[in-house]
């Protein structure tokens, strides 16, 4: 959902899922730039559409370079050519976004493997027995800051900040994907002893999820930001 008070078209998070391919992608466009939503959408789309499989044998930098390269070409083609100042000056800085992509593959009837690649502070959590047992790339809430690494549309500094990991998913376990503000909240819920399975189930059953999260933002429990949460329960 967009920031509280903003319109849906002002939302700069992006997420895409292809359950058949086992692909999940989430991206948080930086509000300091312009066309950040477009950039975030292109990163997630080009991961989902890519024929390349993200596996233990992947070379993370090369894998991500291919996605970023395609996204840059698409971005240049979609940016209007008749921008006036200040947009014409702002676009020279480029667009920026975090990126987290995960590929899930079957091992057998009750378990799966996954591989994930990321730049920035959008997170994936593995929840087992009502608690976070694994998180990537952020391991604890103190690691969040105001300047996460970002993939830029114009230059390559993201290459120094690529993270890659592998994991498993068994029946009864859950993966949750979240952009930073929701991710931070999940860490805080977990650290204060809350039953995360019940929390996520309550959200899932809530008929007005937007209002639920608006209340959390208005009570300053979640930071004022675009919010994205995707929950995958393997049952």
């Amino acid at each position: 959902m967009p920031k509280v008070g903003n319109e849906e078209n002002e939302q700069e998070d992006s997420f895409l899922i292809d359950t058949e391919k086992g692909k999940f992608a989430i991206s948080d466009g930086a509000s300091s730039g312009i066309y950040s939503k477009l950039w975030a959408d292109l990163l997630t789309k080009n991961f989902i559409d890519s024929e390349e499989i993200l596996s233990e044998d992947s070379e993370p930098q090369k894998f991500l370079e291919n996605i970023v390269g395609k996204s840059r070409a698409d971005w240049k083609a979609k940016i209007p050519t008749n921008l006036k100042w200040p947009a014409s000056e702002k676009i020279l800085e480029g667009s920026f976004a975090t990126f987290l992509a995960l590929q899930l593959r079957d091992v057998n009837k009750t378990s799966k493997n996954w591989n994930a690649i990321s730049v920035g502070d959008s997170c994936v959590f593995k929840i087992k027995d009502d608690k976070i047992v694994e998180s990537f790339p952020i391991r604890e809430v103190s690691e969040f800051n105001n300047s996460p690494s970002l993939i830029a549309s114009n230059f390559d500094s993201y290459k120094e900040h690529i993270r890659f990991t592998s994991g498993t998913l068994e029946r009864g376990e859950t993966l949750a994907f979240a952009t930073d503000s929701v991710a931070k909240w999940l860490f805080q819920e977990n650290d204060s002893g809350e039953n995360l399975s019940m929390t996520l189930e309550a959200i899932s059953q809530n008929h007005d999820k937007q209002k639920y999260f608006e209340n959390l933002v208005n009570n300053k429990i979640i930071h004022y930001d675009d919010l994205t949460l995707i929950v995958l329960s393997y049952s």
């Binding site: 002002e10 509000s31 300091s32 312009i34 066309y35 939503k37 477009l38 921008l83 100042w85 200040p86 947009a87 000056e89 702002k90 676009i91 105001n146």
Partner: protein
């Protein structure tokens, strides 16, 4: 303000006007979001004083103006040279037209009390209409030699204005002919070399704790602490812009 600016060779009035125009341009860029629309995170007023004897007046046609209106309605456009890559590894100079909102006007007097009084009226009205806003920031750019009434008591009144988020802040940017080293965010009056700078210190707000780390990072000054005042002394043009910019960074987070 018609005297030379530090070692630059151009007048303080031109320097102040350039700083303000650069500041407004930078702020517009910071507020440009989404697909290029300018979002009204700020409203700005500019008060000039001393150009016409002992008066102060609002320099923007709309008084306190939304940032999007400033973008749509500059006072004028000027052509400046700009160096850009030529695509073949070299640099080429082009002429670029940029918007400006204030023009330099220098006078012989510095009726700072009139300016602070006018600012107090404008900010008081604005705060009443925006009670939950981030507190206004008043940035005073001057050579410090106030003439006429003492502005210090009025500065104290200005610093008492509040919104629900706290007291408004008074920043003073002091320009002098003295080519000694500039001082930013001093934390003691005794460290300042003359009575005008010391008055500026007393008139300035204590730096908010939320701005301390930004100020240290931008100006590379580890000595800035919670006792520092929002003041710059003998600032050059680029540091003046950085100084003013610090005040907006925290509010945009």
């Amino acid at each position: 303000m018609s005297d030379p600016f530090g070692n630059t060779g151009f007048s303080k009035a031109q320097g102040a006007a350039d700083a303000l125009n650069n500041f407004i341009r930078t702020l517009i860029l910071k507020c440009t979001k989404g697909e290029g629309e300018v979002r009204d995170y700020f409203e700005i007023a500019v008060i000039g004083y001393g150009a016409q004897s002992d008066t102060a007046s609002s320099l923007l046609a709309g008084g306190i103006m939304k940032i999007s209106d400033l973008e749509k309605h500059p006072l004028d456009r000027v052509t400046v040279p700009k160096k850009i890559p030529d695509g073949a590894g070299g640099i080429v100079e082009i002429n670029e037209e940029i918007p400006i909102w204030v023009k330099p006007e220098a006078g012989s007097n510095t009726p700072m009390a009139q300016a602070v009084n006018l600012a107090h009226q404008m900010i008081s009205d604005w705060s009443n209409n925006h009670p939950n806003s981030y507190p206004p920031i008043l940035v005073n750019i001057t050579d410090g030699e106030a003439t006429g009434d003492d502005p210090e008591p009025l500065a104290e009144q200005v610093k008492q204005l509040t919104t629900s988020d706290g007291n408004m802040l008074l920043w003073n940017c002091h320009i002098t002919n003295n080519p000694s080293n500039p001082v930013y965010f001093p934390n003691s009056e005794g460290s300042l070399p003359d009575q005008f700078a010391q008055k500026m210190f007393r008139m300035s707000s204590q730096i908010p704790s939320s701005m301390v780390s930004t100020a240290k990072e931008v100006l590379k000054l580890p000595g800035i602490d919670q006792n520092s005042r929002t003041m710059a002394y003998n600032a050059d043009l680029i540091s003046m812009i950085q100084f003013i910019d610090i005040g907006t960074r925290t509010t945009l987070r």
